[in-house]
Symmetry: C2
Subunit: 359 residues, 2 copies
């Protein structure tokens, strides 16, 4: 039934939207977008188009360039939302992205300004400048770096690890979802801070990348290895900090090996975002008690007022070659609904981004 829903949506796209996405650049007479739609108790997407309204005083028209696809987007499609309210049925799907101001009636954002913010799953966005951030014009930094490193992804890794995880020199840090956009940065920051870093990822290629390119001390392929045996092998002194992106069984295995006063940064639970049945929490909860450990939820939105701290360090580390990232850019807004699944089946190769239009 879900597949049927997907086909129905796809058909709508093919029927109504073909060619328009690539045809209206600069004209801005028609904006294309994905609005949410309920289908068979699930929420899917519907391709809609509408004329771009005339700008009011203070408004700007943004031509979107890159759309960031992130695991957290999934939570915005659930009945209760997550840390943000759900996207109401019929509204444009919420999404973070980068665009360029094409028309402006707001002197803070003149035409040609590059901006980032919640621009939505659409090719044109109207905004009044609230919660919109101007990007610096630095030709040495590709625009995608603002999504993969210098934006909220980098801040998530930076504040989640340093502010919640509080790693100390010589401690052992384990990261799940280690080859993901956030996880790969967390591990590298852990190395910079003097930790032994062990990553958990889902393919040999990802594990090689973590060890050979990013300098992780060890990487565990959870699809082919016994995670608990590999953790025991690679964490001979136990686990002091665990950066959790995944949830489920891996959290339980890690909990069985934590040290006294371990810190568990609960940043994501991607393994259960698509679950249709309730997912049990860790069976080893008692070890949090016995080890006086701390499990703390973390949302990067709370740290936007401290962004500068992260950006100063991340820029410096990037310039020094101490921190790397990779992006997985897919062309075409129309591919967003299909592409976001790459985050959940593990086939993405770096920060997942939709190219909505050419830079």
């Amino acid at each position: 039934m879900t597949a049927l829903c997907d086909r129905l949506f796809r058909k709508t796209i093919n029927g109504n939207a073909g060619g328009i996405l690539n045809g209206n650049k600069g004209e801005s007479a028609v904006a294309s977008r994905y609005a949410t739609r309920r289908c068979d108790r699930r929420i899917g997407f519907e391709w809609t188009q509408e004329p771009v309204p005339t700008l009011g005083e203070g408004q700007i028209l943004i031509h979107n360039i890159y759309l960031s696809l992130d695991p957290t987007n999934r939570g915005w499609l659930t009945e209760g939302g997550n840390y943000l309210p759900p996207v109401a049925i019929g509204e444009v799907m919420r999404g973070f992205g980068i665009g360029v101001v094409e028309q402006s009636r707001n002197s803070d954002f003149p035409e040609g300004t590059f901006v980032q913010g919640f621009l939505g799953w659409q090719d044109y966005a109207i905004a009044d400048g609230t919660n919109l951030y101007e990007l610096p014009k630095d030709p040495s930094i590709p625009l995608t770096a603002y999504l993969a490193l210098f934006g909220f992804i980098g801040m998530t890794a930076y504040f989640g690890l340093l502010d919640i995880g509080k790693p100390k020199v010589g401690e052992t840090l384990v990261v799940s979802g280690a080859a993901g956009a956030v996880g790969s940065l967390v591990g590298q920051i852990g190395k910079i801070k003097g930790c032994r870093v062990v990553g958990i990822a889902g393919s040999e290629e990802k594990c090689r990348w973590l060890k050979d390119e990013l300098g992780f001390d060890a990487a565990i392929n959870y699809k082919t290895e016994s995670v608990v045996e590999s953790l025991q092998q690679h964490c001979p002194d136990g686990i002091d900090v665990y950066f959790e992106n995944v949830g489920g069984e891996i959290l339980d295995l890690v909990l069985s090996l934590i040290n006294l006063r371990a810190r568990i940064v609960l940043c994501g639970l991607i393994s259960q975002y698509n679950a249709t049945e309730p997912v049990p929490g860790p069976y080893n909860l008692s070890n949090i008690l016995n080890k006086r450990a701390k499990l703390e939820g973390f949302i990067v939105l709370d740290y936007f007022n401290r962004a500068q701290e992260a950006l100063v360090d991340l820029s410096q580390w990037y310039a020094q070659g101490k921190i790397k990232y990779r992006v997985d850019v897919i062309d075409g807004l129309e591919n967003a609904p299909g592409t976001i699944n790459k985050l959940f089946d593990g086939t993405n190769q770096g920060k997942l981004i939709i190219r909505v239009s050419e830079e």
Copy 2:
């Protein structure tokens, strides 16, 4: 089979130990005790007796008076122990208690000194003074108060709530196991600190005691009420601090109602100490993430160096009539194995204590 084990142990008691417990006061020729014993994959107790050895230099002989029975004792009988290593098979069961020095070759502990410490499930203990604490001689304070309020029970409630839970004036505090020794103090300290306090307990009598005697704002009988509906009713502003003594389903229900940055003090998981199958953690783990909440394990042993802070406040509140406790004293060391079950079936009425000998 377990029942058979229990009967076997009981038979040993009746056969070997009858009368001796009450007969040897002052003689100290024979010490009676419960040692641990493996039976049918479980760990039980075996009554043993042995002559009291002659004191070496620096040693004291303590005649035990009160033995504290606590949920945490159960964890010491599991294969891995909990925050303390398990009691080895054949060793005297570990237990906290109060006794009086009957013979002394240690000038720090002269004869007649009242002491508390890990005296064990036995009527006489030999000690060298390490980890043993002298009790003040204050005729206005009954000895049992040192187990129910001024000892580690009071410190558990005090530091767990204030240091980990960090309640603020006007916040809502929920306590599970609220009529237990720790829970009842937590709620009263919460009231002193200006919180709205809601307790969860297992009988009408306990709920009445919490509300009418201890001043809780509300008490929920989890055996007869819908806990989630009652929590919604009694916590109209959500839950800011949860003091967890129980685990299981109640933790899950509370997690569904926590506020932003809620603190969950993981002090005990009594509902699962006797479990024979692995017990799943909270299904609502994702709410810890979404609400940036913190779940932290807590063991009072870590706070012994700060005992004075707790004792000063607890003494003052007690003198002011702001804090009350009740004790459930059962006569006879021989009854310890049967009595400890009162903690797990909820039939205890206050701090559970075994009277090993007359004061």
